[in-house]
């Protein structure tokens, strides 16, 4: 009887604790609850809001965090003034907006940028202007091969190879077909990674590039299945991945081939959309922790969104990226004398960031001082579609992308 009571008491306490953690107090700044009133620190961001897709969830989330920071002491009394601009998926607009933020508004740092076109358009400009970018989500190759641009996400290629690594290690795949979009520096870049890993490890790989605007998914799937691969990896956005999976199911391929995807198909709505035929058959890579993870920092992100964001702001991976970028910026700025916050001092502080801990990342994030390129987020998790939800099935594993050699070498010197 006593034992039962003890167990009940224990479970009650646990229940209470988890209930408390679900409504955990928001943590940001110095947690003093005193609004910052000093001279604002100008931080800029460029995002692709209007256009083929809305990438602004990253900056919305970063804004929520900065609001929280400003309400809690700011950067040693100075609030952050966060200026977000929409590049409309137009490289020319992106360049004009960067000049406006950096030259006219005198931004000292860029935080949470997430744009399909901005990296190619602005990487050189940022380097010349001596401003650093702690980006949210980078997609094309240029975002990961620039001196002043460090995204918090892993990128489509690292993510796709994370999925490939899982297929090799856990699903014993011996052959693969890679389906990517025919967009330069995105689709080819990702699938080339799979091919070069195939050469290194000696498995069979085939690349199929498709026009994301094509209506005919069945033919693409038939072409991919023609070589009878063990697995098919997708590098498409969720809007294209879902029709591809539907076409594969129509052909009965979900019973013979395992499908995997880069993080671009990781959205909470996907498992329910594709339905029960894919339970245990469709794996997806995750650049960040599970969106609903009950770990402290992930819960803090959700709490910040609830208290300082808009109700309509999506709680997705882009938002996680923006939150992390804002927190990293906070960490760098806090090392400075509030009276001496200039672009030079901020850039120097950002370059020194290392060992940034968050349970949303797999490994501590660092900027990589002096490195010609940045890809600190290169360890990822996997989840599988099951019962209309994603079920996390793997611990963090380093992506086996052969192109990460320089990054791995730099990481070895940090230890």
């Amino acid at each position: 009887m006593l034992k039962i009571l003890k167990v009940m008491a224990a479970s009650l306490t646990l229940g209470l604790l988890s209930a408390l953690s679900a409504h955990a107090a928001v943590s940001c700044g110095d947690n003093s609850g005193k609004p910052a009133t000093g001279e604002p620190i100008i931080i800029g961001a460029i995002t692709g809001k209007t256009g083929p897709d809305d990438f602004s969830n990253s900056t919305k989330s970063a804004l929520a965090y900065f609001n929280c920071l400003n309400a809690n002491g700011g950067i040693k009394g100075r609030p952050v003034k966060y200026l977000v601009e929409d590049d409309q998926w137009n490289p020319e607009t992106a360049a004009q907006l960067a000049a406006k933020l950096v030259n006219d508004q005198k931004a000292v740092l860029m935080v949470g940028n997430s744009s399909y076109v901005e990296c190619g358009a602005n990487a050189e400009f940022y380097k010349k202007a001596g401003i650093e970018v702690i980006a949210g989500v980078g997609v094309p190759r240029e975002c990961f091969f620039a001196q002043n641009y460090a995204p918090t996400n892993a990128g489509p290629r690292v993510s796709m190879l994370g999925a490939m690594g899982y297929a090799l290690d856990k699903l014993n795949a011996k052959s693969v077909a890679c389906i990517g979009p025919n967009i330069p520096n995105v689709g080819t870049w990702s699938c080339d990674g799979v091919v070069s890993l195939a050469k290194e490890k000696g498995f069979k790989a085939e690349t199929i590039l498709m026009d994301p605007g094509s209506a005919d998914a069945t033919s693409i799937i038939l072409k991919a299945a023609a070589s009878k691969p063990d697995v098919i990896v997708l590098g498409m956005s969720k809007g294209v991945a879902v029709p591809l999976l539907t076409a594969a199911e129509e052909q009965g391929l979900n019973q013979t081939i395992t499908f995997l995807s880069a993080a671009s198909a990781y959205d909470l709505s996907v498992p329910a959309t594709i339905g029960p035929a894919w339970d245990g058959k469709f794996f997806v890579n995750m650049e960040f922790n599970d969106l609903q993870a009950t770990t402290p920092d992930n819960q803090n992100w959700l709490a910040v969104m609830d208290k300082y964001g808009q109700k309509s702001d999506p709680r997705d991976t882009f938002a996680q990226a923006g939150y992390l970028a804002a927190r990293i910026a906070e960490k760098a700025l806090m090392t400075l004398d509030p009276k001496n916050i200039t672009r030079e001092t901020v850039s120097a502080a950002v370059r020194q960031v290392k060992g940034f801990q968050s349970d949303i990342f797999c490994a501590p994030w660092y900027f990589g001082d002096g490195q010609p390129r940045h890809n600190a987020n290169s360890s990822t998790r996997m989840a599988v579609s099951e019962g209309g939800k994603w079920k996390v099935v793997s611990d963090c594993a380093p992506s086996p992308d052969p192109e990460l050699k320089d990054v791995r070498a730099f990481e070895a010197t940090m230890k």
Partner: protein, 288 residues
């Protein structure tokens, strides 16, 4: 690589292009309007069907509602807005239909968003295997429907009073009015018929391709290509052209050097057709 599987896979979508193309031609012949909103109207219907499925309504209700909504929207535009432009150039009338298309894209965006959805029909699970490809019952229905509608519309045009009026309008609008053809009535009937086509095509495309407002709206383009191949006049040629466009697009998949450009196939085909027809000066576009 064996082409046969791809030919089979192109049949389904080709059939819907054919259906859409015929829907466009019947409207153009009676009213002189090339309806760019055709895809958007169909997409709206498909979204309504999806919503009803989410609300656990029977399939028949969902399908009927989709066609009813598409028809109603088409009727509304045809009755209220299209007559305001009826004395303008063909180009002005065609561009006018871009307005409802954009409006509907916005409405669908606000209500359902751009997240990918899946509209499923029970016929997706039934199939026969041909050359190693599963041809689902949905695709067979699309093919049958395309043929059935061509036959039905041909009969309508040749055997009924409404059909006679439509043909008269197509020939000479002013003369028909003098002869006592009820222009408003006939044109509205054409808008209703094209609305039914849009509803059916939208449902099928949402199932075969994807349920996404903007995407489905722009699938009107291959249908326009088919209609142009039929010189906006011949229902049979339009239907055959629609199926061909779908099959050609699919058959280009295994040919690596064109594979990633195959989405351009409908435009290239239509462009070539316009040039060839123009050069042979047998085009009858001007007097519809």
């Amino acid at each position: 690589m064996n082409l046969l599987p791809f030919l089979i896979s192109g049949l389904g979508i080709g059939a819907v292009y054919a259906l859409s193309g015929v829907g466009l031609v019947i409207l153009y012949r009676s009213t002189g309007v090339l309806n760019f909103a055709f895809g958007a109207i169909g997409a709206l219907g498909a979204h309504v069907a999806w919503q009803l499925q989410q609300w656990q309504q029977p399939l028949a209700v969902a399908i009927l509602a989709a066609v009813a909504v598409a028809t109603a929207v088409s009727f509304l535009y045809g009755r209220v807005f299209a007559p305001l432009l009826s004395h303008r150039d063909t180009v002005v009338q065609a561009v006018g239909t871009v307005a409802p298309a954009l409006f509907l894209i916005a409405v669908m965006g606000v209500i359902w968003g751009e997240l990918p959805r899946r509209l499923q029909l029970p016929t997706d699970q039934m199939f026969l295997t041909l050359f190693g490809v599963r041809l689902t019952a949905t695709r067979l229905i699309a093919l049958a429907l395309a043929i059935l509608m061509v036959v039905a519309i041909t009969l309508l045009l040749n055997r009924t009073r409404l059909g006679l009026d439509m043909r008269a309008l197509a020939n000479d609008r002013d003369l028909s009015a003098i002869l006592g053809v009820r222009i408003r009535y006939t044109e509205t009937a054409a808008w209703v018929i094209t609305g039914v086509f849009a509803g059916l095509a939208g449902l099928l495309l949402a199932d075969l391709v994807r349920l996404q407002g903007t995407f489905l709206t722009f699938l009107v383009i291959p249908a326009i290509a088919a209609a142009i191949l039929g010189q906006l006049r011949s229902l049979t040629v339009t239907a055959i052209a629609g199926i061909s466009v779908g099959v050609v697009e699919a058959a280009l998949t295994p040919i690596d050097w064109v594979s990633s450009y195959r989405a351009a196939a409908p435009f290239v085909i239509a462009l070539a057709a316009v040039m060839i027809l123009g050069a042979m000066s047998i085009t009858t576009l001007r007097d519809r």
